[in-house]
C-alpha cells in the first residue's frame, strides 16, 4: 500500500499523466486503495479535450433489425423470395468478411448456425425525415422528429452470432476470448467523480440476466468500477441503501456521529494509515449516498409535462420512460456513465413474427428516447452528454426458416446500425453502410471497440493509456474513434 504524505497523494489520473514510469511498484492494492484516496480530492476538471461529461448508454437486448429500423434496403423488397445467389449482387455469404464476422460459440462439431439465403422483404416502410432527409422506418414516428440531432453508424459489426454478443458489445470480447472489463468500468476508471455522493457508473434495468453480468463488470479494475445497479424505487434503490425499519433517522445519525468520533480518535492514533482515513471518508459518503440515491431515483420534483415527455403516463412506455428519465437525473447530478436497458433481456430477438414484435417494441421506446433527446436539449445538457443507442447485432436479410419459420430473421453479427447523439458528435449525419442487401458492413466497418474508443475519446480518454500493469490488452480491444462522426 502506498502511504503517501499529505500533499503527495497519488491519483490515478496523476499516474496516467505522468506516464508509465509513475506506475512502478504499484500493485493491485494500490489501484484499489486509490478509489477513495482519489475520490477524496475535489473533482478534477474534465480531461483535456473532453467533449462529454457523461454518457447515457442505451442498450436494446436481443438484437433489433437494422433493416427495419435505421438501415433501409430497397433491394430486399425488389428481390424478396430469391436466394442471395439469384440477385445481381455478389453473394455476401461468399465474402471473406462473412467468416471473419460470424463466429459461433459452440464448436463447429457441436453446432453450426444455419445461414438463411432466401431474401425476406422489409416489414415496414421507410421515409426521409427532417431537414437531413435521413431515412428511418415508420415504427419510429417520434424519433423522426429529432432525426436531425442523431448520428447513425450503419456499418457496425461484431463476431458472436448468439446472445453472448450482449456482453461483447460492452466488453469488446467474444465469449471464447479472455474476458475484459466493461466500457463503463473503463470510463469510471479513467474519470474523476463529479458527485461523490453517487457512484460514477450506474446501471438501470440491468444486468438483464444472470449471465450478462459481464456487461457491467469491472473484473480486474476492482469492484469500485463495476456498474452499480439502481432500482427505480426511492424506498430501496440499492442494496443496503435503506435504514432498518426499527431504526429512526436520528438514531442512525447518532450512530454515524459516534463512528466518526471514534474514527477521529483512531486517525490521531494512526497518522500514517491512509486506508483508515479513506474508510472514515467512506462512511461519511455512505451516509450521504443513502440520502442522495433515493433523491436521484425519485420523480417528485419533476413536472407533469416532463412525465408525459417520457411517456410515464402510458403503460407501454412507462418502463423505458422511467429508466431514461432517471438516466437524465443521474447525469444532471454528475454520474459519469449511465447504462440503461430500457427493455428486458432478449425481447428484440425476432426469430418469428418480427413485424408484430418490432411494431410493439418500437412503440415502447420511440416516445421515451425521443423525450430524452428533447429533454437534454431543453436543459442544456445535450452538449455535455453523449447518448448512445445500440443493440448486440442486426438481423439476417434472409428469412429464418428454422422450424418452418415464415416471418422472422436470425441473428446477424455481420452488419448492424447504432446511433449516437449529443456531445461532440455530428447531428443529422449518417456514417458507413452495409452492402445492398444489408448483409456485410462495408469497408473495414466498425467492430464494437471502435464505438468504445469513440465514447472514451469524447470523454477525453485514450483507452491505450488506461492500461493496468500486468494486464496488457490487445490492439483489437482499443479500436479507433470513428473520426467521421466527430464534430
Amino acid at each position: 500500500m502506498p502511504n503517501n504524505e499529505a500533499g503527495q497523494r497519488l491519483t490515478r489520473r496523476g499516474l496516467l499523466a505522468a506516464g508509465p514510469r509513475a506506475g512502478l511498484g504499484l500493485g493491485f492494492g494500490a489501484l484499489a486503495l486509490e478509489s477513495l484516496l482519489c475520490d477524496a480530492q475535489p473533482a478534477l476538471a474534465a480531461p483535456a479535450g473532453a467533449r462529454a461529461k457523461s454518457v447515457i448508454w442505451v442498450f436494446l437486448s436481443g438484437g433489433y433489425s437494422h433493416v427495419e429500423t435505421f438501415d433501409p434496403k430497397p433491394a430486399l423488397n425488389a428481390h424478396a423470395g430469391k436466394s442471395y445467389d439469384k440477385t445481381p449482387f455478389d453473394n455476401p455469404v461468399n465474402s471473406p468478411l462473412h467468416r471473419k464476422r460470424f463466429r459461433s460459440v459452440p464448436a463447429e462439431e457441436i453446432n453450426v448456425r444455419d445461414v438463411y439465403p432466401i431474401i425476406y422483404p422489409m416489414q415496414v416502410g421507410f421515409a426521409p425525415r427532417g431537414r437531413s432527409g435521413i431515412e428511418i422506418s415508420d415504427w419510429w414516428p417520434q424519433l423522426a422528429g429529432v432525426v436531425d440531432d442523431l448520428c447513425f453508424v450503419r456499418n457496425m459489426w461484431t463476431t458472436d452470432n448468439d446472445h453472448a454478443a450482449e456482453n461483447q458489445i460492452h466488453t469488446g470480447r467474444h465469449r471464447l476470448d479472455e474476458p475484459q472489463p466493461s466500457l463503463g468500468a473503463w470510463a469510471s476508471y479513467g474519470l474523476g467523480s463529479l458527485n461523490e455522493n453517487l457512484p460514477r457508473y450506474v446501471v438501470l434495468g440491468g444486468p438483464t440476466r444472470s449471465d450478462t453480468r459481464q456487461s457491467i463488470d469491472s473484473l480486474y479494475l476492482g469492484p469500485q468500477h463495476a456498474g452499480v445497479p439502481f432500482a427505480i424505487d426511492p424506498a430501496n434503490p440499492l442494496p443496503f441503501g435503506r435504514r432498518q425499519a426499527a431504526q429512526s433517522a436520528r438514531q442512525q445519525r447518532d450512530e454515524f456521529d459516534l463512528v466518526a468520533r471514534l474514527g477521529a480518535i483512531a486517525a490521531a492514533e494512526h497518522p500514517h494509515d491512509a486506508e483508515l482515513r479513506a474508510r472514515i471518508r467512506g462512511y461519511e459518503l455512505a451516509y450521504r449516498m443513502q440520502a442522495a440515491v433515493p433523491e436521484a431515483v425519485g420523480f417528485t420534483d419533476e413536472t407533469e409535462a416532463t412525465a408525459r415527455l417520457y411517456g410515464l403516463d402510458v403503460e407501454a412506455t412507462k418502463l423505458a420512460g422511467e429508466r431514461l428519465l432517471t438516466a437524465r437525473r443521474l447525469v444532471e447530478r454528475g454520474v459519469r456513465f449511465v447504462q440503461v436497458f430500457p427493455s428486458p433481456y432478449g425481447v428484440w430477438d425476432s426469430h418469428q413474427k418480427l413485424k408484430e414484435n418490432h411494431t410493439r417494441l418500437c412503440a415502447t421506446i420511440d416516445l421515451p428516447i425521443t423525450g430524452l433527446i428533447r429533454d437534454l436539449k431543453a436543459r442544456g445538457l445535450f452538449d455535455e452528454t453523449l447518448v448512445v443507442f445500440c443493440t448486440e447485432f442486426g438481423r439476417t436479410p434472409g428469412l429464418e426458416q428454422r422450424g418452418g419459420g415464415v416471418d422472422g430473421r436470425d441473428h446477424h453479427p455481420n452488419g448492424f446500425t447504432i446511433w449516437l447523439a449529443g456531445a461532440g458528435v455530428k447531428r443529422g449525419h449518417v456514417h458507413g453502410a452495409t452492402d445492398e442487401l444489408g448483409y456485410n458492413a462495408l469497408g473495414d466497418g466498425h467492430y464494437v471497440t471502435d464505438l468504445h474508443a469513440t465514447v472514451l475519446h469524447l470523454l477525453g480518454l485514450d483507452g491505450r493509456k488506461l492500461e493496468v500493469p500486468g494486464r496488457r490488452r490487445l490492439e483489437m480491444d482499443h479500436g479507433e474513434p470513428i473520426s467521421d462522426i466527430l464534430v
Binding site: G23, G29, L33, R209, P239, S248, V259
Partner: protein, 826 residues
C-alpha cells in the same frame, strides 16, 4: 477473434540482460516495456537461442546461506533475511505488537474467524513463554484452518460452482457436484497434505490414484473449466490457468503468437495443451446415493440438468485425440499440414529432459466402476428394495369379487415378477462384469455374458408383462364404472389400445428371449477405457518435481501474501520476465527450498512465517513526532510502501471474513463443514461459513453483501482487490445481518457482566471493544462511548435520540462493527 498484437521484433538475449539490469535497479517492468517497445533500440532476432537461463525464476532455487543475526536479534531464518535488507537500507524495525493485537491477527489469519472476548481473556492470562506457540498449534489444528486457507486456494485455483444459464437452469460450465472438490481442498489442508500431492491430484488423480473416488474429485480443478458448448474453450482455460496457478507463467499470451518476453513459443502453448487433449468427464454413482446415470453430454437442443448426485471427474476419453495448431486464437484456423502437436513442456524449462509419458493401465474398478464392491452392493440394494416394495404392494391389494381387485392383484404380482427378474438380471450382469476383466478362461467369460443377456431378456419380458397386466387392471377399473359414466367409454377404449400395444411388446420380448443369447447385455454403469495416456500424470509430476524452478516459488509467494497482505513478488501469476522483481529474492528461494524439503507441507510453512519476529511486529508506523530517535521519521520517507517490512502491514478482512466474523461474534455461525453450495439469496438469513455459498461469475454468484467487500472474482482471482467504497459502510450500517448480531451481542455481553459491577456501562464498553475489536478501549474512546451511552447516574448526551438502554447498547455494538478496526487487521 483474431486480435493480433502489434508486430514487435523479438529481443535478443543481450538486450534482455540489459533490461534485467534496469529492472533489478528498481525501474521495473513498465520501463522495460516502454524501452523494449522503442524500435530503434531493437534489432531483429539473432544470436544464441533463448534458453531462459538468464532469468532468475527459470533456474531452480538454491537454499541461500542465512545472513547473520540482524537488528531484531532474531535467529529466525525469515528475520535474518529481512533484517539484512533493513540494515542495508538504514531502516530500523518497529517493536512487537501487543499481545491482544497479535492474537486477533493470527487467529483471523489462520482460521478466518476473530477471537472472542473469552479467547482474548484466556490468551492474556496465559503468560507461559510458549503461549503463542501453543496458540498457533491450536489454530492450525482447528478445522476452521482448512476452511480459511481452502478459500484462499479456491481463489488461486478458480473455484466456481456450476453456471452457464442459471436462470433456465442449464449447466454449461463447471458441474453441480464440484462442491465435492471444495470439500476435498478443505480436508486435504486440514490433513496437511503436501501441496505437491494436492497439485498432482488436481491434475491427474484419475491416473495417479485410479479407482479412488475420494481423490478423483480433486480433478474438480479441471472440471471447473469445462464448457459445454466448446471443448476448445475448456482447453484454453486449462492451459492459461495451469500456467498461471502452478507455474507463474502467462501461457495465455502464446495462444496467438510466441510469448513476447519469455521463451515460450506458440508451439509450446499447444504442446502444453496436448497433455489435456484426451480428457473427458465421467459421472460416478456414490454408494449411499441414488444412481445419477452417466455424465450428460452436451446436445445443442437439450438442457443439461442440475445433477447433484454422484461425482464428476476427469478421465482420458480419447488417447488419440489430436491437438491441432491453430492461428489467431481461433480454433477454426487449424494448421492441418503441421500434423498433431505432441505433448511436451517448453524447452527452456525442460532443459533437455522432457517428462517421460507412460500409458497407465488402470485397475478394472477404476475404468469399470461397477467392479467396486460398494457400488455393486448399492445397485443390488436398489433391486432388493424394489422387490420388497413390490411385496408390500401385493399384500396390500385384496382380490375382491368384482374383478377389479383381481386384476389389480394380478398386476401387483406381475410387478413383483418384474422386480425379481430385475435382480436376477442384475446379478447375472454383475457376474459377467466380474469375469470380463479377470483371468477366467474365455469360454467362461462368454458363458457368463450369454447368461447375462438371457437374464436381461427375461427381465424385459417380465417388465412387458407387468405393463400388460397393469393395463388390464386399468381396463377392469374402467369397465366397472356405471354405464352412465360419461368417461367410461373413452377410458375403456384407451385401455384396450394400451393393452393391444402391451401385447405386442410382450410378444416381442418373448421373441427376443427365444433368440440365442449373444452376450451383448446392457452395462450396469458406464465403463471407460482401460488405459490412460499418462500425460497428465507426467505433467503433474514434472510440475511438482524438486527441479522445477517455478512451482514452489509461486506457491510460497501466495502463502506469504496472505500472511503479510503483500507478496514478495507482486505479479503473483507472472514470474516471467514481464513480471515484477521480488523484494527479497533470497528469502523467496530459501522458503521455496525449505517448503519442498519439508514435503511441501503447508502447516510448517505457516508456522514458520507466523512465528517470525517480522510477523509479530506492530503495524503502526513509528510516530514522526514521538519516536524520531528510533529512526521513525526517516523510515516513512524511505520505504513508504513498507516493502522491506520494518513493520507489519495492516490487513483487511476479505468479504467472507467480514460476514463470518459478524456471525461468529454473535454466536450464530453454523460450523458445519462441507456439502452442496447454498444460494446467495439466503446468505444473510442462513449462517454457514461464507465459502459454502454459490461462487460463480453470474449475477447470483455472489451475495450483495460479499460483492461490496471484494469477494472472489470466480473467473480470475489470483489476488483479491481491496477497495474502500461507500457501499461497505451502507452494508455494515443497514444490513439485517449486522442489526441482528448487534442486538444479540449487546444482550449477551450485558447479561454477562457481574451484577455487583460498579460502573456497568463502562464495563459494557470495555466488553464490547474486547469482543469486536479484540482490544480494550483507550481512555478517549471510553469517554466518547460513555458520553454516547450515558454514564452511571445520568442519561446519554441530550442531543441524542432518546431510546431504550438496550437499543442504545445494540447501537454501540453496531458502531464498533462500523469502526475501521473491525474490518482492519492491525
Amino acid at each position: 477473434m483474431a486480435m493480433p498484437l502489434q508486430p514487435r521484433r523479438r529481443i535478443t538475449r543481450q538486450q534482455r540482460r540489459g533490461s534485467w539490469g534496469w529492472m533489478a535497479g528498481g525501474l521495473g517492468v513498465i520501463a522495460f516495456l516502454v524501452w523494449s517497445g522503442t524500435a530503434d533500440t531493437l534489432s531483429a532476432a539473432e544470436g544464441p537461442v533463448d534458453d531462459g537461463s538468464d532469468h532468475w525464476a527459470f533456474v531452480a532455487p538454491e537454499r541461500a546461506e542465512l545472513p547473520p543475526v540482524g537488528a531484531s536479534g532474531s535467529g529466525h531464518p525469515i528475520d535474518r533475511f529481512l533484517d539484512a535488507r533493513l540494515t542495508a537500507e538504514g531502516l530500523e524495525p518497529v517493536a512487537a505488537a501487543d499481545r491482544a493485537t497479535l492474537l486477533r491477527r493470527v487467529t483471523l489469519d489462520l482460521t478466518g474467524l476473530p477471537p472472542t472476548r473469552d479467547d482474548l481473556g484466556a490468551f492474556l492470562a496465559d503468560t507461559a513463554p510458549d503461549a503463542y506457540d501453543r496458540l498457533v498449534d491450536r489454530l492450525l489444528a482447528s478445522p476452521a484452518y482448512g476452511e480459511r486457507w481452502g478459500r484462499h486456494w479456491m481463489d488461486v485455483w478458480r473455484y466456481a460452482d456450476w453456471h452457464g444459464r442459471r436462470h433456465v437452469p442449464d449447466v454449461w460450465n463447471s458441474a453441480p457436484q464440484v462442491f465435492r472438490w471444495r470439500d476435498w481442498i478443505i480436508a486435504a489442508l486440514n490433513a496437511d497434505t503436501g501441496y505437491d500431492e494436492m497439485v498432482r491430484c488436481m491434475l491427474a488423480a484419475d491416473e495417479l490414484h485410479p479407482g479412488d473416488r475420494d481423490a478423483g474429485v480433486a480433478t474438480g480443478y479441471l472440471v471447473r473449466n469445462w464448457y459445454a458448448l466448446n471443448p476448445n474453450d475448456w482447453m484454453r482455460s486449462t492451459v492459461e490457468h495451469v500456467g498461471k496457478a502452478f507455474l507463474g507463467l502467462s501461457t495465455n499470451c502464446a495462444h496467438c503468437h510466441d510469448h513476447k518476453f519469455d521463451p515460450f513459443t506458440q508451439e509450446d502453448y499447444f504442446r502444453l495443451r496436448a497433455f489435456f487433449e484426451p480428457m473427458g468427464l465421467r459421472q460416478d454413482r456414490l454408494p449411499g446415493e441414488a444412481d445419477p446415470g452417466p455424465f450428460q453430454p452436451y446436445d445443442y437442443s437439450v438442457l443439461r440438468r442440475v445433477e447433484r448426485r454422484g461425482t464428476v471427474m476427469v478421465y482420458d476419453r480419447a488417447a488419440d485425440a489430436p491437438t491441432w495448431f491453430y492461428t489467431d486464437g481461433d480454433e477454426r484456423n487449424r494448421d492441418l499440414a503441421r500434423g498433431p502437436v505432441p505433448p511436451g513442456v517448453p524447452a527452456f524449462l525442460a532443459r533437455g529432459r522432457q517428462p517421460p509419458i507412460e500409458p497407465i493401465s488402470l485397475p478394472p474398478p477404476a475404468f469399470n466402476p461397477i467392479l467396486d464392491e460398494r457400488l455393486a452392493a448399492a445397485f443390488r440394494a436398489d433391486a432388493v428394495a424394489a422387490i420388497e416394495a413390490a411385496h408390500r404392494s401385493l399384500e396390500e391389494v385384496h382380490p375382491l369379487d368384482d374383478g377389479v381387485g383381481l386384476a389389480r392383484k394380478t398386476a401387483a404380482a406381475a410387478a413383483l415378477g418384474r422386480a425379481t427378474a430385475a435382480l436376477v438380471s442384475l446379478d447375472a450382469r454383475l457376474a459377467a462384469e466380474r469375469l470380463r476383466y479377470g483371468s477366467a478362461p474365455p469360454d467362461q467369460v462368454v458363458a457368463a455374458a450369454e447368461a447375462a443377456t438371457a437374464a436381461e431378456r427375461r427381465g424385459a419380458e417380465q417388465s412387458a408383462l407387468e405393463t400388460l397386466l397393469a393395463a388390464e387392471g386399468v381396463l377392469a377399473t374402467a369397465r366397472a364404472k356405471p354405464e352412465t359414466d360419461p368417461a367410461r367409454q373413452a377410458e375403456v377404449v384407451a385401455a384396450a389400445t394400451t393393452i393391444e400395444k402391451a401385447l405386442g411388446a410382450v410378444e416381442a420380448a418373448r421373441g427376443a428371449a427365444m433368440r440365442p443369447a449373444d452376450g451383448a447385455y446392457t452395462r450396469i454403469a458406464a465403463a471407460y477405457p482401460a488405459t490412460s495416456t499418462g500425460r497428465r500424470a507426467a505433467l503433474a509430476r514434472w510440475i511438482t518435481d524438486r527441479a522445477n524452478p517455478l512451482a514452489a516459488r509461486v506457491a510460497v509467494n501466495h502463502v506469504w501474501m496472505r500472511h503479510f497482505h503483500e507478496p514478495l513478488l507482486s505479479s503473483v501469476f507472472d514470474f516471467g520476465r514481464a513480471g515484477a522483481a521480488p523484494s527479497h529474492p533470497q528469502l523467496l528461494d530459501w522458503l521455496a527450498v525449505e517448503f519442498m524439503e519439508n514435503g511441501w507441507r503447508m502447516k510448517p510453512l505457516h508456522r514458520l512465517i507466523v512465528t517470525s519476529v517480522a510477523y509479530r511486529r506492530a503495524s503502526a508506523e513509528p510516530s514522526t513526532a514521538g519516536r524520531a530517535e528510533s529512526g521513525g521519521a526517516a523510515s516513512v520517507g524511505k520505504d513508504p510502501e513498507n516493502r522491506l517490512l520494518k513493520r507489519m502491514n495492516v490487513g483487511r478482512m476479505e468479504a467472507e471474513v467480514v460476514r463470518d466474523s459478524i456471525l461468529h461474534l454473535a454466536g450464530t455461525l453454523d460450523r458445519t463443514i462441507g456439502g452442496m453450495e447454498l444460494e446467495n439469496a439466503v446468505a444473510l438469513t442462513t449462517f454457514r461459513r461464507s465459502l459454502y455459498y454459490s461462487c460463480q461469475p453470474e449475477e447470483d454468484g455472489r451475495s450483495p453483501f460479499a460483492a461490496v467487500f471484494d469477494c472472489a472474482d470466480a473467473g480470475d482471482c489470483y489476488r483479491r482487490s481491496r477497495t474502500i467504497i461507500p457501499q461497505q459502510g451502507l452494508a455494515l450500517a443497514n444490513s439485517e445481518l449486522v442489526h441482528a448480531a448487534s442486538a444479540k451481542i449487546a444482550g449477551v455481553l450485558w447479561a454477562g457482566l457481574p451484577a455487583e459491577q460498579q460502573d456497568k456501562r463502562g464495563a459494557f464498553v470495555t466488553a464490547a471493544f474486547e469482543h469486536l475489536l479484540g482490544r480494550a478501549p483507550q481512555d478517549e474512546e471510553m469517554a466518547a462511548c460513555l458520553d454516547w451511552l450515558g454514564a452511571e447516574g445520568r442519561g446519554p448526551a441530550e442531543h441524542l435520540e432518546p431510546v431504550e438502554p438496550e437499543v442504545r447498547r445494540a447501537g454501540l455494538v453496531r458502531v464498533l462493527f462500523n469502526h475501521n478496526d473491525f474490518v482492519a487487521i492491525r
